[in-house]
């Protein structure tokens, strides 16, 4: 609980920082849009072929962006002074759209080497992203309407609860069985072993993976997929599974989601160990490029967290969500290149890959685990940007619905 005095102090000290933060936020949106545009331009073969020395995003581009945001801010500020009545969110949306137009125009004028298609991608992405971080979250403001920083500070004050809770849940899960610690490794070993065997020996429909064993190829994507599937499936039910607690005690409810994510991460870690064993049997050993894995897992975790927050709170209102999630997961499993390499997908269906942020992630996992090479970072722009936007929107949505959990359950 904070007193009104605390809040007043917070507001006063925040006002100066606020201007800077909102500037950074807008710049981040534009940078994100540009990164997505760069990846789309470089990876999908539409438009004129690009030269070897093509500079996709020179530093000047980002300077232009910052300039556009400042100019757009001033224009809107003048309009507001003149008497235009706008809410904060609407003001930010207009600034973003103006800045997008300005950046596109300036870049087209001053950086002629830049692909115009890429600029078009950028404008499209920025126009779509802008309402996602301004107007849409503003519509979801809950009855208390606190800013995100307030909720994060509150969550931080409950960090001990998160750690204790997670620890006991994990210990409780693995301590009851007689075989104890052995199960931790046996179960994922059996699961991934059977899956790998069936898909590599029985169901291997024309999948050739040249010089690497199919098991390794398959498991490198199956393990992150399992992490994704487990988190989302359990995350969508984790709020209303704790009805008893929610209606009786107050604590930041996103802790329930974070615990679910933590449990899934621990579970899948053991599956990862099982994968290492199976790989070793097939003659593939761990390599130094595994050091990239935390980065990939981080991007995936951000994405999952956003979806879990969104689905977890939505399923309190619409109880069918978990069933729907089950169906979508089934579809997504076959639609993602897990059983087959991405190159198997015919050219005209490649757009499916372009909108699924899991695809470049799985590819990166494979690069590291199977081919022992540095993942292509330019393919990770899209997953990274989408993850951050999804997480932001998911968190705002969750917080706006959180108040109603106790009333609806």
């Amino acid at each position: 609980m904070t007193t009104d005095l605390d809040k007043e102090f917070l507001i006063k000290s925040q006002i100066r920082v606020y201007t800077l933060l909102s500037f950074l936020k807008m710049l981040a949106v534009l940078v994100g849009a540009m990164l997505v545009a760069v990846q789309t331009r470089l990876k999908y073969t539409y438009g004129k072929p690009l030269g070897e020395d093509y500079q996709a995003h020179p530093i000047g581009l980002y300077l232009l962006m910052a300039l556009s945001v400042v100019v757009a801010n001033f224009i809107i500020l003048i309009l507001v002074r003149v008497g235009l009545k706008l809410t904060v969110a609407l003001r930010q949306l207009l600034i973003l759209w103006l800045a997008t137009v300005a950046t596109t125009g300036l870049a087209w004028l001053f950086i002629p080497a830049l692909s115009q298609l890429q600029l078009a991608y950028f404008a499209g992405a920025a126009v779509i992203f802008a309402p996602c971080v301004t107007v849409i979250p503003a519509m979801w403001k809950g009855s208390d309407g606190e800013p995100i920083s307030f909720h994060l500070a509150k969550l931080w004050s409950y960090r001990v609860l998160l750690l204790i809770w997670l620890r006991y849940n994990i210990l409780a899960r693995y301590s009851q069985a007689t075989l104890g610690i052995l199960w931790i490794i046996l179960l994922p070993l059996a699961t991934s072993g059977v899956l790998a065997f069936v898909f590599s020996e029985f169901l291997r429909i024309g999948v050739t993976t040249s010089d690497v064993p199919f098991v390794t190829f398959f498991l490198a994507a199956l393990v992150p997929w399992t992490l994704f599937q487990q988190s989302i499936t359990k995350g969508s039910t984790s709020i209303f599974n704790q009805i008893g607690l929610i209606i009786q005690v107050y604590f930041p409810r996103e802790i329930l989601i974070l615990i679910t994510l933590g449990e899934a991460l621990v579970d899948v870690f053991f599956m990862f160990l099982a994968m290492l064993l199976i790989n070793a049997v097939s003659g593939v050993w761990p390599n130094w490029f595994y050091l990239y894995l935390p980065l990939l897992i981080l991007i995936q975790a951000l994405f999952m967290l956003g979806l879990m927050l969104f689905l977890g709170s939505l399923s309190v209102i619409v109880r069918d969500i978990p069933q729907l999630v089950g169906v979508v997961m089934q579809l997504l499993f076959y639609m993602s290149p897990i059983l087959y390499p991405a190159s198997f997908i015919p050219e005209r269906y490649r757009f499916i890959l372009a909108i699924n942020p899991l695809v470049p992630l799985f590819q990166a996992y494979r690069d590291v685990i199977v081919y022992a090479k540095t993942p292509d970072f330019s393919t990770l722009y899209f997953p990274l940007v989408v993850s951050i936007i999804v997480l932001f929107m998911g968190y705002v949505y969750f917080k706006s619905k959180e108040d109603g959990f106790a009333d609806r359950l």
Partner: protein, 296 residues
């Protein structure tokens, strides 16, 4: 207790509304709704009957006071508690609670069934916002008070319901709260432990603890509370000295509930038949014939 006038709990015009349609939470209901609307060719939604669980409730509690909240079932007592604890937000109005509070509402809520009582002390404290290092020194007191002895290292799933509740109670009173929300304390354990609980609560009260107590037991309210608030159908009927409020409250209950059943006057007969008449015409005749011999 330097400034006992300073309010520690403030509720200003608190109202809480529950829309009746909020309970419909599945897609099937949504589709039904859409289909019905489509067939009836009307865009207007069915008028929703709002239910006000609390209506314009205002009061302040100075530090160190013990307030009993009385009222019949469904009068909004629990909703008021949830609002004060921050579990739900009021639809209208504003609440502010200063200081650390602990609840004796959910005894043992959030316990991990597989872990030991000792570990659950830390967990339960953390759920109420108290980090382990602050509860460390009180561990022995908690175990002693709950009379758990060596059972404390057993998983709580093996506990009897009494042990479970005793541990929950013991944790809540040892968290050193500034404010304690109590809902039906005497539901814990046997008579001896209940006395101990009351004793402990009186002790904490003497130490300057602010308390809000919900109970249906008049004796408890009279013994513990300095002041009573009477809620009826979400509205505040009275707020004042415990004795005066309890007298009025019982008078109301006597007049509206007990009196009509003791000496039935001719008027209640159609009144009792009223709800039946809505169900169907053939049922209506039955209670009428039954009630005629009773009337004289």
């Amino acid at each position: 207790m330097t400034s006992p006038i300073e309010p520690i709990i403030v509720a200003e015009h608190v109202s809480k509304r529950y829309a009746q349609n909020e309970s419909r939470t599945s897609l099937r209901h949504e589709f039904n709704d859409i289909a019905k609307r489509f067939l009836k060719q009307s865009i207007a939604r069915k008028p929703v009957e709002p239910f006000w669980a609390l209506r314009d409730v205002s009061f302040t509690v100075p530090a160190g006071q013990t307030v009993g909240i009385v009222g019949r079932n469904g009068s909004g007592k629990s909703t008021l508690f949830r609002t004060l604890c921050g579990i739900t937000h009021p639809t209208e109005g504003h609440v502010s609670v200063r200081g650390r509070f602990s609840t004796l509402i959910a005894l043992g809520a959030g316990f991990n069934q597989e872990r030991s009582g000792r570990e659950n002390i830390y967990l339960s404290a953390a759920i109420q916002g108290v980090p382990p290092r602050e509860i460390e020194h009180a561990i022995h007191d908690i175990i002693d008070f709950a009379e758990l002895g060596q059972f404390i290292d057993l998983p709580v799933k093996r506990y009897s319901s009494g042990m479970y509740a005793r541990l929950g109670f013991s944790i809540a009173v040892h968290l050193k709260p500034d404010i304690l929300f109590v809902d039906e304390i005497l539901a814990v354990g046997d008579a001896a432990f209940q006395d101990k609980c009351i004793e402990r609560i009186l002790q904490m009260k003497a130490g300057g603890l602010t308390m809000l107590i919900v109970t249906h037991q008049t004796a408890q309210v009279m013994r513990l509370c300095d002041r009573a608030i009477w809620l009826h159908k979400g509205r505040m009927m009275m707020d004042g000295d415990t004795k005066v409020v309890m007298e009025k409250y019982h008078q109301m209950i006597y007049e509206t509930e007990i009196l009509p059943t003791l000496n039935p006057t001719p008027e209640p007969t159609p009144a009792t038949a009223d709800p039946v008449s809505e169900t169907g015409p053939e049922v209506q005749s039955e209670p009428l014939t039954l009630s005629t011999p009773d009337a004289p």
